[in-house]
């Protein structure tokens, strides 16, 4: 399945595409079946909804896009740079600089406060620190406020927060320092419908404000309406 592509007029340096992938295949060690992924073509500042039932390798694809794993074959270009040309350390640095992530759950470092969790990307990447402005802490406060995380929780142990609040702190962390790409792996699956829509709205609005592309993975087709670009993964037979 291919994505519908919408060409954006203002091509940023390093290519106008956030993500481009071709013929990507992956095989987990010790498993016989090979996963084949459809090609992705996502312009910058646009969002992509990635739908697929479980077992179709949604998380695996995100791992490949994040540069945590290398594909068995095929090519992935992020912001015009080929991930295959980078060594593992370079991919780690690239991820720190340009990618924000949100997991399904257990998104936070348990021994850091909400505020410290949100600032974490700035401490791992000088680039994101620069982009977050003079005082990253103020930027983090601003983001947490916009994401409606109550101020009294900012300095508290994050394990005391509700799931919804934890996911919003994770969103703040992903948005921190304006990364070009945000990878979200079913971040709403543990939320009720009300919270889910609010979370998605906030994430997409803020991402648009920061010119970030969100790749949103979910098995919940109902969310597809929020996205311009959609793609479905199918189980290989």
């Amino acid at each position: 399945m291919n994505t519908k592509t919408v060409q954006t007029s203002d091509a940023l340096d390093g290519g106008s595409l956030a993500i481009q992938s071709k013929n990507v295949r992956f095989c987990w060690p010790g498993q016989a079946s090979e996963l084949t992924f459809p090609d992705i073509h996502l312009p910058r500042a646009q969002h992509l909804f990635l739908h697929g039932p479980s077992g179709t390798g949604k998380s695996t694809l995100l791992g490949l896009l994040a540069g945590l794993q290398a594909p068995a074959s095929g090519r992935i270009d992020l912001l015009g740079r080929n991930l295959g040309d980078m060594r593992a350390g370079q991919r780690d640095r690239f991820r720190a600089d340009h990618i924000g992530v949100i997991f399904q759950q257990f998104n936070l470092v348990p021994y850091l406060s909400a505020l410290d969790n949100a600032i974490l990307p700035c401490r791992l990447s000088p680039l994101r620190q620069t982009r977050a402005g003079q005082a990253p802490e103020n930027t983090a406060r601003e983001l947490l406020k916009q994401l409606a995380v109550p101020e009294e929780h900012w300095h508290r142990n994050v394990t005391k927060l509700s799931i919804g609040q934890q996911q919003r702190v994770a969103a703040a962390r992903a948005l921190m320092g304006n990364p070009e790409i945000i990878l979200a792996d079913e971040p709403t699956s543990a939320l009720d419908a009300n919270n889910r829509d609010r979370f998605l709205d906030l994430l997409l609005t803020l991402a648009a404000r920061h010119n970030s592309s969100v790749v949103f993975v979910s098995h919940d087709q109902a969310l597809a309406g929020h996205f311009h670009n959609q793609m479905t993964l199918e189980a290989d037979s």
């Binding site: 791992g63 593992a88 720190a96 021994y111 792996d185």
Partner: protein
Amino acid sequence: MNKARLILSLATASLWYRRRVLTLVCLTLTLSVTLLLGIQYLRTEIRQSFTSTISGTDLIVGARSGQLNLLLYTLFHIGDATNNIRWSTYQSMAEDSRIDWLIPISLGDSYRGYRVVSTNDQFLAHFQYGSGKPLTLTNGHWFQDLFDVVIGAGVARDLGHTLYDPLVLSHGGGRTSFSKHGDLPFRVSGILAPTGTPVDRAVYISLEAMEAMHVGWESGVAIPGRTLSADKARERNFTPEAITAVFIGLDRPILTFQLQRELNQHSTEPLSAILPGVALSELWRMMGQFENALLGISGFVVLTSLVGLIAVLLTLQAQRRREVAVLRATGASPGLIAALYTIECVGLAVASCGLALILGAGAVSGFGPWLLEHYGLQVQLRPLREEEWLLLGAVPLASLAVSAIPALNTWRASRRQGFGSPEPD
């Protein structure tokens, strides 16, 4: 630089977050490091106090025997003399121009388990211990009357004796003796200041008193009618026929070996002359094997607690997979995560060493006076010596080495880290 600060702050926060579990391991490590350091510290102190049992004395001369035997019975009051020295031999030594001073001592009797040393005023004048410290009396004076006795600080403390207490000496050694010199009671005329040496655990009388006591005891038991009364004894003049040993101080210590050789080859009587310092260090070498074993054992105790620490860190590793997933996805390299583990492990070891120092200093300053009072052991708070610092420094280094296990483990695992939280298992 930024990375280092990040790792340090993450490690600190992580250790604090897991403080409940880690406090226990840290405590175990602290106790074992305290043990290790304490043994090293104490053995230095004890060796110090042991080798300073006697000082200033150039030679100890007794009847022919081994040097350890001679040292043990003259200085430590352990075991018995093999034979005596004739008084004439002592007198010929006293005339030797090379000899500055002599302390004659005669052993054989005891007082409630403490050795009776009969000597003269030269003992107080010339016997030295530690780094040339002379003996002093805390109370009273050195014996003047024939039946005066001076007691060591340990004897006074253990038996609760004070000045002018009467005491009855026993014939022969041992705690319980059936033949006592009951007809000639002594009187405490002075009490020596504590020295932390065997001097504290002896009773001192004059050579004459020793002779007077034994008039009528030639067969080994008192023969009624032949012993003296105190007043009769005071009228008589006693010259000993024999003594047990002589402590010798020379004018010029360079002549020590020459005199030692002459005395060992003495023609009229078989003698042994020993250098107390040499004999003491030989004795210490024998006991040194034991303290080395003790140090080795405590080293293993530290190693065991380090292994315990690693076991706990490896157990925690399973709980930390989610956190590692978050850090990896945010851009942390496997190296950073391995470094986090290493820093945490070394941090715990350093904290344990710090705590052990505080604990050890507290114990030494707290128990020091008690040890001196009850065991005559002089243990004082002092700055650590180089080998003690090395021993202490070896603990974080060892923890650095063993932390390689969880660090490598997590490094390997995080290289294979996929996207998202691993399933809890």
